[in-house]
Amino acid sequence: MTKRTMRGQVAVAGIGETIYYRHGKATEPEMVLCLKAILAACEDAGIDPRDIDGFSSYSNDRNDPPTLATALGTHELRYSTMLWGGGGGGGAGAMANAAAAITSGLADCVVVYRALAQGQFGRFGQGPRAKTVSGDPALTVPYGQMSPALWYAPKAMRFMHEHHIGQEALRAIAMASYHHAQANPRAVMYGRPLTEEMYDESRWIAEPFHLYDCCQENDGAAALILVSAERAKDLKQKPAYVLGAAMGAGYRVHSTMAGHATPDLASSHFKTVAKHMYDMAEVGPKDVDVVQSYENFTGGVLMSLVEHGFLAAEEALEFLKLENLIAPSGKLPLNTSGGNLAECYMHGLELQIEAVRQIRGQSTSQVPDVKVSLAASGPMVTPVSTIIFGTEATL
């Protein structure tokens, strides 16, 4: 039987973003932000927006493909898909769905997008206000366990306990994002560096997460245009080829609000997923030049890096030091745009864009001579997803 794979068949041809705002500060409606990001991605790629024939998103994005296709005047709609699951676990998965559609012939030009305007809608980090609660949420919410930081804290706490990992590891992950944001004028935290003292003295949100271990919430929109590898060669930008991607979770990973019942609690849930991704990509962790790893909370990044094979849990304290995590010279440059913590929380789609920039050589914290660039989405939720991009030389 021939191996079924998407390797090298699809490329990211365009990337687009709006200005990134602090939450609730966008001056335009969410749909307008979404449209502007899509148009920016088309402009970047050099394609006519009307040629988009597929739409792929995640996390219950409110901007549905029929509305977008109608608004943009696309010639026809051939593919519209929403990856189930809340949080940012679906970012790389939405990219994978787009790539799968192109590989299989369901569509030719797919946009992956995410838009958030929290002034118009609600925030994530607040508990529910309803009078009653049922189902899995009833098992957590009445105990005050009612925000993402609280739901995921016990996972990181258990992992750190099992492997004797101290707070310094989480601090280094937070510092890396803030460090890179200082070189990135798009970053919401540009000009607002983080010191070890600031981190140590910041208040607890949910132990082991200090304030600076937690992602921002932001307004804005991001989009990427995917086309076949063949077509990408003729467009404006250096293609970032999809080498491999995967999504999902391991055995009986419960919904977030009953996540404490998951048999493998101390996990980011990348153990099975990363393996599938590497198998398709035909590369291993040692081949990866630069990593974008979704920071909902730094403890999730810690587990994600371990489960992607970049380090053993036992090495975490020794390895996770700022100098190892920063571009251009670190052993494992991490979240080189500032990521969710310090660039923008666009539910991790900004991390997909940064992974592409690293392939193109366009990052504000560029790693020299990048050939393989990884972007992982949404640790600790289910499903999670992960993707690897490569230059033409990797094909």
């Binding site: 919410v141 706490m157 949100i205």
Partner: protein, 149 residues
């Protein structure tokens, strides 16, 4: 007024309209922890499901289990995420494993000093926190450290 660990005003737990978790919530009212078990294999599961996950059969049974466990993990909340919690931080949430019930896990607050040192592996026992003046009435499952004398 309150003998409650957290202030009143948080969402009240009620069974779903389809009744899946009703035996659990009814059990807490009677100071009993009810969990699901597969009558064919003895495999436990919690939170409740419609089907036994190991045999894909629908004859799930509910059984009472001894109201104690071990702290598997925990967090201490420092940031209020609901108006009712504005003055309630810090508070401790523990994930409790029930080794005698197949290792199923439940969650609740750890009673006592909210600043106390929490140690994974510590044995705890259930405390049934009745909210009798609430409408509807309900009972939460809280935990306290077992003091050995």
């Amino acid at each position: 007024m309150s003998n409650y660990y957290l202030p009143a005003g948080l969402p009240i737990p009620v069974p779903e309209p389809n009744g899946l978790s009703k035996p659990y919530w009814d059990g807490l009212r009677k100071e009993t922890i009810m969990v699901q078990r597969n009558p064919r294999t003895g495999v436990y599961q919690f939170p409740p499901q419609w089907i036994c996950h190991d045999t894909q059969t629908f004859d799930v049974e509910w059984v009472a289990v001894e109201p104690k466990g071990v702290i598997y993990s925990w967090t201490r909340a420092g940031h209020p995420v609901h108006p009712a919690l504005r003055e309630a931080c810090p508070y401790i949430v523990v994930v409790v494993e029930l080794p005698h019930a197949g290792g199923v896990r439940m969650l609740g607050n750890l009673l006592g000093d909210p600043h106390q040192t929490v140690r994974i592996g510590t044995p705890v026992e259930a405390v049934f926190e009745h909210h009798n003046e609430s409408d509807p009435k309900f009972t939460l499952l809280q935990w306290r450290i077992i003091v050995t004398r």
